[in-house]
Every structure is written in structure tokens, then in C-alpha cells.
Symmetry: C2
Subunit: 426 residues, 2 copies
Amino acid sequence: MDFAEMDREELKQRLEILNRTYENIKAENLKLDMSRGKPCKEQLELSMEMLNYPGSSDKCITPSGTDVRNYGILDGIPEAKELFSRMLEVDPDEIIIGGNSSLSMMYDTVSRAMTFGVYGSTVPWSKLPRVKFLCPSPGYDRHFAITELFGVEMITIDMKKDGPDMDTVERLVAEDDSIKGIWCTPKYSNPDGITYSDEVVDRLANMHTAAKDFRIFWDNAYVVHHLTDNHDRLKNILEACKKAGNPDRVFIFASTSKITFPGAGVAMMAASRNNVEQIKKLLGLRTIGPDKLNQLRHVMFLKDMNGIENHMKKHAAIIKPKFDMVLNILETELGDKNIARWSRPNGGYFISFYTMPGCASEVVKMAKEAGVKFTPAGATYPYGKDPNDSNIRIAPTLPPAHELKKAMELLTVCVQIVSAKKILGC
Amino acid sequence: MDFAEMDREELKQRLEILNRTYENIKAENLKLDMSRGKPCKEQLELSMEMLNYPGSSDKCITPSGTDVRNYGILDGIPEAKELFSRMLEVDPDEIIIGGNSSLSMMYDTVSRAMTFGVYGSTVPWSKLPRVKFLCPSPGYDRHFAITELFGVEMITIDMKKDGPDMDTVERLVAEDDSIKGIWCTPKYSNPDGITYSDEVVDRLANMHTAAKDFRIFWDNAYVVHHLTDNHDRLKNILEACKKAGNPDRVFIFASTSKITFPGAGVAMMAASRNNVEQIKKLLGLRTIGPDKLNQLRHVMFLKDMNGIENHMKKHAAIIKPKFDMVLNILETELGDKNIARWSRPNGGYFISFYTMPGCASEVVKMAKEAGVKFTPAGATYPYGKDPNDSNIRIAPTLPPAHELKKAMELLTVCVQIVSAKKILGC
């Protein structure tokens, strides 16, 4: 029943029952972690076969003739560039294959921009009086942490149903040349699970930016991470930028962390040839090359786009039931109460949950006191500050089903308690 | 016979014969690369067993309880920290295990110092009017390339038989607070093969530096890379710094690139706890963690210091004959001519060869025209400028014996030609 339509006495009685339920759960001394988008053990098992590759010395020589065990090849073996350029829908000479972390590639890209500028910069960004980034929010806390570390001023941009609020984005980048970038997780966004519409992609590619060296940081972390067969499609941003006459505008990032192994995957970035050349020049001073053996393992295991897609279906078969369980519990416990809303994503790693304004921190705190850790409220916003104190990120993949059920039941109880108190003004 | 003691006519006749030999070699259309310190194929075979590890899912869980396949552990699995801290003679909490490249860890350390400062800095180095590094030379070109990229002014320091010219080092660091660092390859140095004496280590640890946040960049690349059983010993720099009351003065770097696989090894850095804590704080914004699966592979394969030492003996058995061949050819062809000198290292990857002043570039050029590529003359000095134009770095490990023989014979011919011309003034 809609909490707003209950009379005070009814709501108070409900609150008493909820408080008793909460105390009962608390007495169970739970110790559950719902805070991280980590694959579960069953997902890790899916890629064990990969560790058998390359298998023997002769297999360590790639078809293109490189011994992956030795030094050399700055930007990845051609076979890995071929495979992953298909995944990102770019040309093989528009991709750089790196180590095991796309986050590192993003950090390094920001770091290089600050110290040396990007292709087309007249001055390193750190030499400017100020640098600002647009941060569609809720978003990925680690993106915001990088920009904050480098002293970049972050401007929160609302997320709509089909991507960032483009009216605001267009207005700001047109008038302020200190705005140098925007963070985007364009597919199955973290945490909202939104995929940017074609219109949003086109507007990002075409918009006039006062800064000539403006960059879109396009973290395509969930590019093939579908939960259903009827999955979202994301328009090709690099192609859109080229068509718009802004070919150098975008840096694309991705990894196999949630395809093969989070701790031992392969990261990559893609961009125009101009960007790639500028980056490779600097990269060559940092390293002789990435771990090519692991790149070869990936190529031999995943083989081609068909291989990747089939592999991702196995992931979906494991985690989709967990997403469904979360959504069912939310629907059952909160569906008729008008105190919360949440996303129903077609892919990615999160369900984004919104309490009534001003309730999220208290809910997370109560859950924690009962032994269930959620991502801190606010973490999904620049500087850790959710202006509405409303968003909670739910990560359903890691816990076993029985733990997930327990954690979600606790969450729904906490949400009801905090909401009821809010309505009652106590 | 000593070239200087030959009369002009004699020397001219010799030159004619040498020129004919050179043309004959040139006619063979060689295509050999002697420029890079790369392990040869036989060395790569030594570590193939490592690729069988971990082997199965249950083995992916470390004794300390971490699933190396998943996210987490910023500074390396405890088992890798334990093993490699013994190799570097530091405590396990004084080490950070990284990805596959120690060069990247050095680059990142310089980059962080420029942008954020090091532990104890009052201001990031890039905010200072100028930053200088001391560069004992000949040294490693990639060290110098990093400092040059970041706009650091490099001061060439002579290498003596037991390390850098410490009188000059001590005088400069005492009087100039813009000198923030010194590059050192203290064991089997690149390219001279020198191991720093205890006295040099102590003087580096104890010297008064005008800059309070001065750092020794201690690239211990060849820490266990002995060629003989009776090998060099290097004094423990971190311990010496602690004793001297300068515990935070040194950053130590190393990797398994030339222990296991150059393309898929494990890199590491070590320093005082204060330094390690400051670095980890920043590192945590760049990555969730390094490739732990590869770290576990290394631990399971190398096991302990005994394992590492036995493994390195197998490397020595392969490459020592190559060093001996180079030294024998040099002795046979040039030993009595008084036109060159060279190192006879107990370890490492190079033989350092010195022509008469003003001859090295011409020798390298002639060799290149006859199809044999050596490291460009000057590369071993800051800004690529050898003040004496004398040093040539010989890398004997990669080529098969017959190629190595050919390349060295060519080199000795070129050295004689250029020297004879120099003496004759033609």
C-alpha cells in the first residue's frame, strides 16, 4: 500500500513491525558485501580453459611472427588488436591493447593530458588556470576519483532515461573553454543501466565545444555484457565523431575484466589515428610493451566475436537469475508503496535504486549496522555528494543467491523504516 | 701490434687490407641486430613450466585466501611480496608488486613526483622552477628518456670503476636543491657491468642533500643476473639509508623480465614504509590491482630464493659462452692494438666497449652500413650525447653464436678502420 496514503497511526504501527523485523535480522549477525561489481566464482570458472593457452613453445609465436614471451610490441599483438577492434567497432590501427586494467588506461590518459596535453592541445591541461569535467551522475566513483585527484573541477550532470542531460551539456561546453572532458559509461551505465540513445551519441559527437581539445572519456565497460538476448545497441561514437568532423574527440576504453578474469584480463583503448599516434609516442617512454602472453591467451580462448558473444551468454545465464531475484524482491516488498524506484537493466553489473530524497545515507547506514555493506550513499556522485541523498547502487553478481536474498530483504526493510520515519517526521 | 707505434706506411697498408675485409663482409648482406638486451629463445624455454601454473581452480586460491582471478589486492599477493622482498632484501611491507614492466613503475614514480611530489615534498616537483637529475653515464637510455620527457635537466656524472664519481655527486647535491634525484643501475650496471662498492652505497645513503625530498632511483635490474658462481655482491641500500637516518631516500626497482619472460614477467618496487604508503594511496586511484594470476604463476614456479638462484644458473649456462665469445674476439682482434678497451662483467646483459675518443658514431655507422645494428652511439648518455663519442654497448645475449661471431668480427674491423683513419688524419 502507498505509504503516502496511509494515515499516521497505520504508518506508526507498520513502523513498529518493521523495527522488530530489522532487529530480528540484526540478531542474525550477517556479514555480507553488496558493494562491489565483482563476478562470482561460477563466472570465474567459465574462463579456466583460457589458462591452458598458449600450451607450448611453438604456440607462443603468433601467426604474425612475434614471440609473445620476449620484449617488444608497444600497442598489443596484431591478433589481439584485430579481435578487440571488432568488439569496439573500430579499425585495428585505432586501438591500443594494454595491461590488465582499463582504469589504469583512463588514469594514464588523464595524467598525460595534464602533463603533456592531448593531440591538438596548445598547452598541457595542468598549465591552465582551471580544468573542468562534466560528470553525468550517478556514475562510476572511480572516474570521479581520478579527476578529483588531478585537481579537475567536476560538474554534476543529470542522467536522463537515454543518457546525460544533453541540453545542459551542450550549453556548458559551448560557453566554457575550461571544460575539457566528460565521463561517460554509455552502455548499461554504472549504476543506472542506461544505454545512450543514438540522439545522445550524435549530439555528443556534433556539439560545439569552446575547448578545441575537448575529449569524451567513453568507458565502454559493458560493451558485450548483456543480460538478455534482446539487448541494447549503442551507436558507434568514433564513427559519429568522424562524421561530425570531430574525429579526435573521443577516447574509448574497455577491458575483458568481466569477460574473462577481473584480476588477469586485458584492457584496451581506442581513438582516432591522430590520438593513437600521440599516445603511442608517450607510451613508448613508459613501457617496452604490455603482457603479450596474456593477450595471446585471450585471442586463443575467445577466438572471434562469436566466441565472445557465446561466452557472454554463459555469464548472463549465471547472473541474470540474481538480477531477477533482486528485482522480484524489490517489486514484492516495495512495488506498491510509492517510496522508491529502481532500474531494470538489460545488461551491466548494477541495479540503481532510488529512495525518497534524503533517505539513502540512512538506509545504507542501517543496513551496515545489520551487517550488510552497500556502496556508500553518494559514492556515485562527484565528491561523494548525492544532491538528493537518494541513489543506492546494488551489485547483485558476487553473493550467492541465499545471501543476496537476505541482503535485499534487509534493504527493503531499511528503506521502509527510513521512509516511514521521514513521512512521520520522526 | 700497437697502432700508435706503427709507422704511417705500415698503417696505410693495414687500412687497405681492413677496407677489403670490410667490403667482403658487406657483400654478405648481413642483417643482424646487436642493439637490444633481449634474452634468446633458449632462455625463454627455461620458464615454459611456469605456464602450467596455477593449473586448476582450487590452485587459484592463494594460501592467504585470495582468489587471484578476481578483483582486489592493490600491491601484490602476499606470497609474491614474501618471495621478491627476499630477492631485494627488504621487508614484505616495503615492497609493491606491479604489472609486467619495471620501466612503467619508474616512469609512474617520476610522473607522480612531478604531479604530486614524493613523501615529504612540500610541493610537487613540476611546480618548481627547475628540477635536475644526476645521470651516471654511460647508463640506461630509457632512464634518461623518462627524465627528459618530464623536462628534468640531466647532469652527466662520470662512472668510475666502483660506481658514480661520488666526489662530484656529493658536491652537487649538497649545493643545489633543485637536484631531486639520481639514476642508478647499481649491480652489473647497464652498460659497464659495474657493481657499486660498499663505499659508494654508503656515501649515497649518507650524503647531505640540499633537497629534502631527494631520491635515489635504484634500478636493481640485474640483482640475481650473475654470469659466474663467484659473483658480485651489492650492499643493501635501503638498510644503509636507514642507518644513515635517511630511510626515505631510495626507490628500488626490479623485475623478472630477464628471470622468466621479458614480455610477461612481474615488476616490483621497494622503499621505506612511508614511501610505500604514499605510493599506495595514489596507486589505488589508478588501478584495482595488478595481474595476480601471473604473480601466483611466478611464486609457484620460482618457489623461493633457492629456486631463483638455480634458475639463474641455467640462464648463465646459456649466455656466459656468448659473453666469452665476444670477449675472446675482442682480445684476439684488438687486444694488442691499443685502440679500444672494454668491460669484462660478472653479470648483467652488456659488454661496454670504448673506442678512441671521437670514433664510436663512425664505427656504429659503418657496422650499420654492413648490416649489423648496434645501439646508437651516444644512446647511453643524457640527451644521446657521449662527450667523448667513445662508448658502444654490446648486447651478446639474443643472437645465435654464429651471428654473434660475425657481428663481432665486423665490429673489430670497423673499429680498426676508424681508428687507423683517425691516427692517419684521413
